[in-house]
């Protein structure tokens, strides 16, 4: 009895300590975000003067939002970013999950192990190294730049290695081989087994890859700026580049654009979080 009480007390105390640590870390992590919110309602001069002040000397202003939206042609670039991000993310998940499946289950085939090693190694290449050769080939030789589909395929090509790497780990450790064998015995083909058995079990990893890739595509500046030169096709990061200069940065507009742009990713993240939990409790693994 007393021992149980003691244990309960200790548990409660641990819980309290954990909450305190979490809150402290939480403050550290979102402090810069709070600074963005405070400063987005100030004029540029007030931001420079004192970014900590709640209200600047020139008062509260909403002007940064309409200014930023007008200058970046917000609705059009938002739509472009949305199309490109969604399609690239979906495509990346499909091709990578498939590729990692064949690689994991046939690790002894030389092609598979070689491909995997190549992909892992390629993740280390700084993009700046590839950018000039990339546009030399696809702009200079083939002339296929300036289409959304080119960008989508390139996004996928660049992220397929990391996504494959992550699915590889997930399939390797978390998908029991027996389940697949059972499906094969039941008369499923490999293709059917993958889609009916393996893919649904990958949900937590799919959600993780989706959020990581969607975020990367949504915020990517360098690749889209190389591929899309037609202003009608601009994405959010390209449209906001004129806010940054060598000698001055329009920090108020930058922050307004940032807030406008980050919302979809935050929503996606909150939505996918539930999936990461759901993937486990669906309980098929225990099967």
């Amino acid at each position: 009895m007393t021992q149980n009480e003691k244990a309960a007390k200790a548990k409660k105390r641990n819980h309290a300590i954990m909450i305190i640590i979490l809150i402290l870390l939480f403050i550290l992590f979102i402090m810069p975000f709070i600074l963005v919110i405070i400063n987005v309602f100030k004029t540029k001069a007030d931001i420079v003067t004192d970014p900590l002040a709640l209200v600047g000397a020139h008062g509260f202003t909403m002007q940064n939002f309409p200014d930023a939206m007008a200058k970046m042609n917000f609705f059009n670039v938002f739509k472009n970013s949305l199309i490109i991000t969604i399609l690239s993310t979906v495509l990346t998940i499909f091709v990578s999950a498939m590729a990692s499946f064949v690689i994991v289950r046939n690790g002894k085939w030389k092609f598979c192990s070689g491909l995997f090693a190549l992909m892992v190694a390629s993740m280390v290449i700084p993009f700046q190294v590839l950018m000039v050769p990339l546009v030399s080939v696809y702009g200079g030789i083939f002339g296929v730049l300036n289409h959304r589909i080119t960008l989508i395929l390139m996004h996928t090509g660049f992220s397929v290695s990391m996504a494959t790497f992550m699915f590889h780990g997930a399939i390797h450790t978390n998908i029991p081989l027996e389940l697949e064998e059972a499906a094969l015995i039941d008369g499923c083909s490999r293709w059917q087994t993958f889609w009916k058995v393996v893919f649904p079990l990958l949900k937590p990893t799919i959600a993780t890859v989706a959020i990581i890739d969607a975020m990367a595509f949504w915020n990517d500046y360098l690749l889209p700026s190389l591929v899309l030169t037609d202003k009608a096709l601009y994405t959010i990061p390209i449209a906001t580049q004129a806010f940054y200069g060598t000698y001055s940065t329009d920090i108020g507009l930058v922050m307004a654009a940032l807030l406008l742009a980050m919302l979809p990713i935050l929503i996606l993240y909150l939505f996918l979080q539930k999936y990461i939990v759901a993937g486990v409790t669906s309980g098929a693994v225990k099967g």
Partner: protein, 429 residues
């Protein structure tokens, strides 16, 4: 449970396929738009690398030109470095017709790709055109100069007497004034920025630029013959630098000398002097600017032919692309635009009033609206500008700027700085 997952998955795949098909169509239609816009109108593509004017360039000037000349203009900007951005444009064989670059880039980019503009009318109207291999390829966008920026209002309010920048000729004059300002309550009347380009490319470069035979001096530096520490110009400038540093609002905090805060302090009259250039006005005017700012030469205890002059000249140049990526008609359209930009009233007003830049063209008589620009214009009109030296290697500002930062932070002596400069140049030989 499992069945519903499969169903969901099928729906997802189906919708994916549909979106994909839509995207393909979307891609197709955008292709169509693009083809039509390129085929029919043939918009002139201009690359702008002055972020401060991107807005007005795109909205005011582009539409004005379209209205007057009937040629649509598209203005592009990139937050990537100019060299890297243009490198990718050439690699993809999709160059801009008109490119705005720094002078040093002309010697690589315009040397190879620049159209010859020697016979154009604007060349006779300016002192700042740049020729490479005997051809005029560089079209000056504006004139910029560096020196000491002062805030006369702040000085007059502190001292209660009129301030005449021309009265400050030597470092001794300057120091006397600073002491007076301190005595009158302005504790730190100056600022020195910590940016490597400001210290290396703008301040220290003066000691090479302010002499008769710049090329000869650079050659002797490369040969390891010139003794920097014994050079009177170097010492005169560094003496002034020491004074600027001594009275600086950043004294003891040199490493945090943020440019915006210096500009703000100067604009609002909290300090009276700062080393900089007329481009600083773009930021200064956004603060609670007191008015009365201007530019004066860096005072030195060394009277020579350069006393009383600012260092400066053309800044940012247009070149017209003549590579295979730009057709002969487009090149002509680009030249027409530049001719118009140099001579039309609309363009003159745009340069001097809207952008507050100093026009490099004699025919532009519109008053410059920007205080520092007006000041620089005065020096330019009186032929009191010492030309920029274009021969600095590309890494000069970074390597030498870092040495100057060390000196600013008190981490190296003047002798060590001089030795570092000598070593840098010797390695260039």
């Amino acid at each position: 449970m499992k069945k519903s997952t499969v169903k969901k998955l099928l729906v997802a795949m189906l919708s994916f396929a549909m979106i994909f098909a839509m995207a393909a169509c979307g891609g197709g239609s955008s292709e169509g738009e693009e083809a039509s816009s390129e085929g029919a109108a043939g918009a002139l593509k201009i690359f702008n690398s002055k972020m401060e004017i991107q807005d007005v360039f795109e909205s005011d000037l582009a539409s004005a030109y379209e209205a007057e000349a009937g040629v649509p203009v598209e203005v592009y900007y990139s937050s990537d470095t100019v060299a890297a951005h243009l490198s990718t444009k050439y690699a993809s064989k999709d160059p801009y017709a008109v490119n705005m670059v720094d002078e040093k880039d002309l010697y690589s980019l315009a040397k190879e790709y620049g159209a010859d503009m020697s016979d154009m009318d604007w060349v006779k109207d300016t002192n700042y055109a740049v020729s490479v291999d005997g051809k005029v390829v560089g079209y000056p966008v504006c004139v910029e100069a560096r020196g000491i920026i002062y805030n006369a209002t702040a000085i007059e309010n502190t001292l209660g007497e009129k301030f005449d920048p021309a009265s400050i000729k030597t470092l001794d004059d300057f120091k006397a004034l600073l002491d007076k300002l301190v005595a009158a309550g302005m504790e730190t009347p100056t600022s020195v920025m910590k940016e490597d380009w400001s210290l290396g490319a703008h301040y220290l470069a003066q000691f090479i630029e302010e002499r008769e035979d710049v090329d000869g001096y650079v050659a002797s530096l490369k040969a390891g013959e010139a003794k920097v520490i014994e050079d009177p110009k170097f010492n005169a400038l560094m003496d002034t630098f020491d004074v600027l540093k001594d009275y600086s609002m950043w004294k003891g905090q040199e490493g945090s000398a943020e440019r915006e805060l210096s500009e703000q302090a100067l604009a609002e009259g909290k300090i009276a002097f700062m080393f900089g250039g007329n481009w600083d006005f773009a930021m200064m005017k956004d603060f609670d600017y007191t008015g009365g700012a201007g530019m004066m030469p860096v005072p030195q205890n060394l009277e020579d032919d350069y006393t009383g002059k600012l260092v400066g000249g053309g800044s940012k140049y247009f070149y017209v692309d003549a590579s295979e990526g730009t057709s002969a008609e487009t090149q002509q359209a680009a030249k027409d635009f530049l001719a118009w930009f140099a001579s039309s009233d609309t363009a003159h007003k745009f340069v001097s009033e809207t952008c507050g830049m100093v026009s490099p063209f004699g025919s532009n008589t519109v008053t410059c609206t920007d205080d520092l620009g007006a000041s620089v214009k005065g020096f330019a009109d009186a032929d009191m500008l010492i030309p920029n030296y274009p021969g600095f290697p590309d890494d000069h500002y970074s390597v030498i700027g870092a040495e100057m930062q060390k000196y600013l932070a008190g981490q190296c002596t003047r002798e060590e700085l001089a030795t570092a400069i000598e070593n840098y140049w010797k390695a260039q030989a």
